[in-house]
Amino acid sequence: MTFADIRSRLASPTTPDGPAYWRSLDELANTDEFQEFVAREFPSQASEFNDPAGRRQFLKLMGASLALAGVSACTRQPEELLVPYVRQPEEVIPGRPLFFATAMTEGGFGMPLLAENHLGRPTKLEGNPEHPASLGATDIFGQAAVLSLYDPDRSRTLRYRGDTKTWAGFTAALQAVLSTQTALKGAGLRILTEPVTSPSLIEQMHALLTALPEAKWHQWDAVYGTVQGGAAPATPLYHFKNADIVVALDADFMGFGPSSVRYTKDFSSRRRIGTPADQQNRLYAIEPVPTITGTQAEHRVAVKARDVHHIALALAAAVGVATPGAGAPEALTERMQKVLPVMAQDLLDHGGRSVVVAGPHQPASVHALARAMNEALGNVGSTVVYTAPIAATPADGAASLADLVADMNGSKVDVLLILGGNPVFTSPVDLSFTEALSHVGTRVHLGLYYDETAELCDWHVPEAHFLESWGDARAFDGTVSLQQPLIAPLYDGHQAIELLAALNGAPGRSPADLVKAYWAERSASGGFTDQAGQAFASADAFWRATLHEGFIASTSMMRDGATMPAAPPNGAFDAPVGSSEGLEIVFRPDPTVLDGRYANNGWLQELPKPLSKLTWDNVAYVSYTTAQEYQLKNEDMIDITSNGRTVKMPVWVLPGTADGVIVVHFGYGRTKAGRVGSNIGFNPFVIRTAQDPWFVGGASIVRTGETHPLASTQTHFAMEGRAPIRVVDAAAYEEDPAIISHMGHVPDVNMSLYPPHEYNGSKWGMSIDLNACNGCGVCIAACVSENNIPVVGKEQVRRSREMQWIRVDTYFEGDPAEPTGTYNQPLPCQQCENAPCEVVCPVAATVHSDEGLNDMVYNRCVGTRYCSNNCPYKVRRFNFMLYSDFTTPELKAQRNPDVTIRSRGVMEKCTYCVQRINHARIDAKTGERPIADGEIQTACQQACPAEAIVFGDLNNPESQVSKLAAQDRNYGLLEDLGSRPRTTYLAVVRNPNPALPSEVSAGTKTSGH
């Protein structure tokens, strides 16, 4: 790819095959190399073996295996054992899973979950449908957490300077150390945690701090617990359902943080429009980094992170908010000058029905401005409420950690308890935490892994995974959520609350006992009510009901309205945002492994990151214009220098990044993560400072001349510029609802040579709403978890051999220097009516079922790959090697027992979660009733926070999927081929502001022929 290629293509709009939408710059340039890449579905010697064995060796092996083939078929099945219970628990039915409500924490906040449990093994996590923070959906971390539970690299033993010790020995030693602190009132004791919202843990902590008043509790979390330019005094909770106009100021509210699931649910409810007349919301996104929230924006402006403050000031002025104490905003860019007055007018026109959202990476001044605007616009109480911060720990982690480091360097710290987290790896470089650690007398680390921090501590205690733990946590809206263990600790893990109780003089108390006792005490005085608003009859009734539901309904601040903290004082609107000179570095946690805490999770490593679709690596994103300026192309290595510190990273040109910005994802470059996550990627923590954790100006880059191979799935399985997405403008759609169907051509049903299939019973179908999908990728993670899909590794991904059955294609529109639109398209098997795959299989391993599925029969497949060659959607995946792990015993326990583990040489693909269909059908038949609409949810549908995916029976005219398929927005992908896909899409409708005519791009293009 060269810039000249792209420019020449863009300069000639008459190019007959010029795509309106493009997935990658390579596609846009359409070089010979790219055409070759697309032509070979599995490119780059994909047909050959990976190992250096040559042709001769291959023929020898083939000869031998052919000779053995006949014989091996005659081997007897190995003996299988049946191990019944001694005393079977009453509720356990072998073959049927049980579901338990629990919660995981992200930045201390509870993420409600339902855990599927097969005979004591948690195998799959879903959202808790009744919990306000989930409403049934999860994010990618919720889906992938179950793999971390079984991670064989988790820490298994309690250690003292490398020697194995017991828990009793540890607590005794710790109490001995602490007894010297009692006289000092704990002056030498410091506790470092991640943000904490757990009421029972806070109580233990307060008990300890009351007994030892000089001890201090610090907080550090590189992702959630740190702010730049001060912490906002109030936490906003948004009601996106009520908002017609949303202005996001560097706020990825759908993609980042524990509130993202609920916010996506609410926001997308205004995108899943039923009729052309339905009013859709409108999103303005002002952001330095292309985010999944930004892909949903009607008007997206890429700006430097530091400029957001000035834009907020200008916007405040435009909506009539006085900003005493703040200087005049800097001059805005030309584009921003055009957008800002229109945006302000839109806000003023929708007072009480709009909301200004400030992102967590912006300074307190931007939050104060957003709040002032929301108050002036009358939005408070309708689209947003403000509450006091929900976490008990300091909001500014960097400042808290700096205090700790100062004490450590002053040799004031005798005992440091690091309860969770990996500060040695993640702490700001200017604090020199590692160096400071050497001045501490006794260092104790509690963590899931024997990681970089554990290595430098005296004591290391293996932490229990949340699926092995008793506990509680508040969700982002304050709702108290209970954690209950799904399995006994696999590796002798312990919990923070247990450790604190030991320090509080109760070393023997179990976490179950501590949590239960805490809530027994509260239930009497708490005045809690259940979801129906009823008080609980007794403490026991409260405990049982709460454990069953997973949360206390009456603790949500969203529902009850909140006690609003005082308005920010004058002067809160000003903030130093740094120099505008040079390049700006924007730091962000990696979208899938965060700050490295999920580095050893193969599912998250291989989950393509939104927009760039990179796997197994972190990169520096630059804009197309910046890349041109510095003559950079994908995979080039650069030295990024900021304040005299340098990190070497590969470049990825991501359209939509702000010019003059280098977006750096941290979380890679770990050395002690485990066999999956160690020694991959690059570590930008070496240039991230406590002062500027999210953005810093004045940086410079130098191309080193080296390259680093990256594995991006963006160009894999491309559909050769056939423009598979359809986008219309809301006004055009309202005027002519048929506009979407006119964009394509549907051949006559009777054109097929094959007789049509008849469906007497169910006829399964799926509808995917592209207007709601924001491309977060949780469908992929859910599918991997449900269907036992293996991880293949970076080398194999580079060869297009990733196994995920559903992918999310991202399409950009317009000039790569400033794309006017970004669209996401989840793509599972389309279950075609005239399936091209079925007719070419020589062994009938893929056949049409009587309910319309394209069945895939693994045990019959001989691996010719003809089906995959013939599939126009490129949704089939082939096991080129033995990707499934048949040997690691820990991982065996994770697998879904209802889905076959595929071996080498077998084709596989999505079958609409046929195991769930079969279960529902059998239950319906046993109950002598029809299968109810909505009874079967595919894994991707269940996890999707945007509710973009709907599955159901097309033979039932009352089903939700039938109604969606009858909508005007409905179209089939590549339906001009006559394959008659059964999964259909609902087109994107964008609702741009008519006052910005040049931005209106949609509704004019056609695709197909």
Partner: protein, 219 residues
């Protein structure tokens, strides 16, 4: 130099042509027969279990219903193997000191499960479901054979796909009234086909197209 081959070698060469053909056919027959043999299928093969449990005694003799032990057969894919507690329900009262039952008592005492060898074992890519077969009128004995006459358990049928599919193609040949599913002594009436067709309609048994769809059993 004399001829290497004598004239009679011609005859040998000609006959070897037939020989090769015969050999190929023979090998085919061997594989075909071997695949269906009870050596491969383990049909009618007694399995030595850690405990000599007799279905003949408990079902045929004592007259226990199948569901006394296999409790989940009507509500789950898996029929269920009884926990030791089920054995102890009775054997805390009778045969309390029988040496034969020591493994059962030891299991209950030490809280260690009994370990059985699976007799009717399908390949892992086959997802058989007891619940629906029992519901639709497939008798236990239809697949498991005369369990009430088995002192030691053996696999009564081949459990090969051609055997499964024979019934999935024409379930009417095997269906019985729901009330008779657990009856070991049930014998198919003379008008089985007629009865089967009537039951098929009454029980809303799926048609052949559905029952022979791959994903019904494989996924």
């Amino acid at each position: 130099m004399s001829q290497i081959f004598r004239k009679s070698a011609n005859a040998a060469a000609r006959s070897s042509l037939f020989g090769v053909l015969t050999l190929v056919l023979f090998l085919g027959w061997v594989i075909f027969t071997l695949m269906r043999s009870s050596w491969v299928t383990k049909q009618n093969e007694f399995v030595t279990q850690p405990l000599q449990f007799s279905h003949a005694h408990h079902v045929g003799g004592v007259g226990l219903d199948c569901r006394y032990c296999h409790t989940t057969v009507e509500k789950s894919s898996f029929a269920g193997i009884p926990p030791t507690k089920t054995c102890i329900n009775c054997h805390a009262q009778i045969w309390t000191n029988a040496p034969l039952l020591e493994p059962v008592r030891a299991s209950f005492r030490d809280d260690t499960p009994l370990t059985w060898i699976r007799v009717n074992d399908l390949p892992d890519f086959v997802y058989f479901n007891h619940q629906i077969h029992v519901k639709q009128g497939v008798g236990c004995a239809t697949c498991h054979g005369p369990v009430d006459k088995m002192p030691l358990m053996y696999q009564a049928e081949s459990l090969q796909m051609e055997w499964c599919i024979a019934c999935h193609r024409a379930p009417e040949k095997f269906l019985r009234p729901r009330a008779e599913v657990f009856n070991m002594a049930y014998e198919a009436p003379a008008n089985q086909l007629e009865l089967g067709m009537a039951l098929k309609t009454e029980y809303n048994v799926a048609d052949e197209r559905h029952l022979t769809s791959c994903s019904v059993c494989h996924r």
